[in-house]
Amino acid sequence: MLAITDLHASVGGTPILKGLTLSVGAGEVHAIMGPNGAGKSTLAHVLAGREGYEVTGGTAVFLGQDLLAMAPHERAAAGLFLGFQYPVEIPGVSNLLFLRTALNAQRKLRGEPEVSGAEFLKRVRAEAQALGLDMEMLKRPVNMGFSGGEKKRNEAFQMGILQPRFALLDETDSGLDIDALKVVADSINRFRGPDRGVLLITHYQRLLDHVRPDRVHILAAGRIVESGGPELALRLEAQGYGAIAA
């Protein structure tokens, strides 16, 4: 589904990703773990097309398309979803209005008909209930006045409404208490499916107790330095990153 080959990227002229190679097939869930500053969020932003994150080499192919040549909204319409490590607050823009506009913009680009107001609300109610989000809160401006945990649940909520093909979740588990972690993990497990892929970026093993990955990769200093099965995450938890970074 997503094949990244020898990716190099710089931020503000500083090379951060230095030859990253990673491939996630349909139906798979992969996890990327790594120390702070390793470049995990940089990878997420590069894949989503953030300005200022300059690709200096390598390729990323998503569902047969050259991901790096597409504008950010085209990547979204192609089915890529980025769950932000730090969801952005947008005063004055209602969460639901924004989400409906985004959903219909994606559908338009894919040549699909608009979702009716009734259909949209039906999806919203179901997803909000599953994530324990209050409808009144969802009408408020995007992420404004949300607690850290609410922001993360709102990312999962948006994923549930937009129904992407591939979810790239950047530390969606951080800042969640154990109950919220289970709720978010459930939403990722519901999202899993044979035509879908997931790349979980996480700093801790605990999310992986709830969402069992097919593969685990360790990202350090801008490259994947080790890959393995779920047991790799456990070993990392026991030994710490010190051993790898060295």
Binding site: A48, G49, R50, E51, G52, A71, P72, H73, R75, A76, A77, L82, F84, P87, V88, I90, P91, G92, V93, F98, L99, T101, A102, L103, A105, Q106, L109, P141, V142, Q158, L162
Partner: protein
């Protein structure tokens, strides 16, 4: 002839009055072709008055040649309007009556056109006044004076909508509020041309409240210049001002937002928020809070800031599927729409919000 103000004067430094100078001695003809008037209405159906080139075309209220309120302090453009107006409108609403909604459309045709509006609201009276200034296809100077008096507990909702493309639109509104009277004013000024819009409010009775908000969208090579002055004359009055200025292209949007509190006007509660949004580096926004406070027991919160569209906010929207122009338009709307909150009635705020969205979409 009366002198036009010069840019060298501090109060006029952001105004572009070149068309006033050029057209000062060229009265607008009476028979210019008119565009479709219905498309100019903000809210339908409403009582309507139309002045084209300063000539009355259609009238609601009392079309006359109104005498200005002589008690108001002199003003260079408003005094020219008073001296040279050919037509105008008087609206009297009697005690406790609801004057409903009145739309007054000023259509700039060519040449100079002056009009005077007088609004008198008796105690407990109400009126919604929508003033629209638009134009046809030629340069013009449309110069309008509004003198309004609100009696005890009276309420005026005023919308000023300026959507000119060619000319110079200049307006000066003077609104005096008696005890417990209320003014809610929202301006939407979207133009690539020249505009000078002044609102001068005198809070003369205790418990009087004024909200004076607006949005400016300067495009092309616009010079949009707003001046407000909310003058608290007695204790226990309230004023709120919220202005959002968006500038694109080579446009310039400016505001001098004034609050004046007289020496004995204790317990004045005044707040002012002026913010600018620059869409590119060739555009300009000027924000100038002017606070003259002579009483000591006063709350006067004020804030003023100019910024650009936040790239991270834009990226967040884009990453969800919004094309860049739509993401920008949504952020611009979020920035500007706050000014419309002063209109409690969705029948008024919705059409204005729709017009605003249309203008912003065109800039994004």
């Amino acid at each position: 002839m009366r002198e036009l103000p010069s840019r060298r004067e501090e109060a006029w430094r952001w105004a572009d009055l070149r068309l006033a100078e050029r057209l000062r001695a060229v009265p607008a003809p009476a028979n210019d072709a008119l565009p479709d008037l219905d498309s100019l209405a903000l809210v339908r159906p409403a009582a309507r008055a139309v002045l084209a080139g300063g000539h009355a075309i259609e009238s609601a209220g009392r079309p006359t040649h109104p005498a200005p309120d002589r008690s108001i302090a002199p003003h260079p453009l408003a005094d020219i309007a008073a001296a040279e107006a050919l037509a105008g409108l008087v609206v009297d609403v009697g005690e406790g009556e609801d004057g409903g909604l009145l739309e007054c459309v000023h259509l700039g045709t060519s040449g100079a056109a002056h009009s005077v509006l007088r609004v008198e609201l008796a105690a407990g009276a109400r009126l919604t006044l929508v003033e629209t200034i638009a134009d046809a296809e030629a340069d013009h100077w449309s110069n309008i004076r509004l003198d309004a008096r609100l009696g005890e507990g009276a309420e005026l909702v005023r919308i000023l909508r300026i959507e000119t493309v060619h000319g110079l639109a200049s307006t000066r509104a003077h609104v005096a509020l008696a005890r417990a009277a209320r003014l809610a004013e929202v301006s939407m000024i979207a133009s690539p041309a020249a505009v000078r819009a002044e609102t001068h409010v005198r809070l003369e009775g205790e418990g009087a409240e004024a909200v004076v908000n607006g949005v400016l969208l300067a495009s092309g090579s616009a010079a949009l210049d707003v001046v407000t002055r909310l003058q608290h004359e007695v204790p226990h009055t309230v004023s709120r001002q919220l202005w959002r200025l968006v500038a694109a292209g080579m446009g310039q949007a400016s505001i001098a937002g004034g609050v004046a509190v007289a020496r004995h006007a204790q317990k004045t509660d005044a707040a002012q928020s002026l913010r600018g949004l620059l869409l590119n580096r060739t555009a300009a926004v000027n924000l100038k809070p002017e606070l003259e406070i002579f009483a000591d027991d006063v709350a006067c919160a004020h804030g003023c800031a100019v910024g650009e569209i936040d790239p991270l906010q834009r990226f967040y929207l884009e990453s969800r599927g919004l094309p860049r122009p739509e993401a920008r338009a949504l952020l611009m709307q979020a920035f500007a729409a706050e000014a419309l909150h002063a209109l409690a009635d969705p029948e008024l705020s919705q059409p204005l919000a729709d017009r605003l969205a249309g203008h912003l979409g065109a800039l994004a």
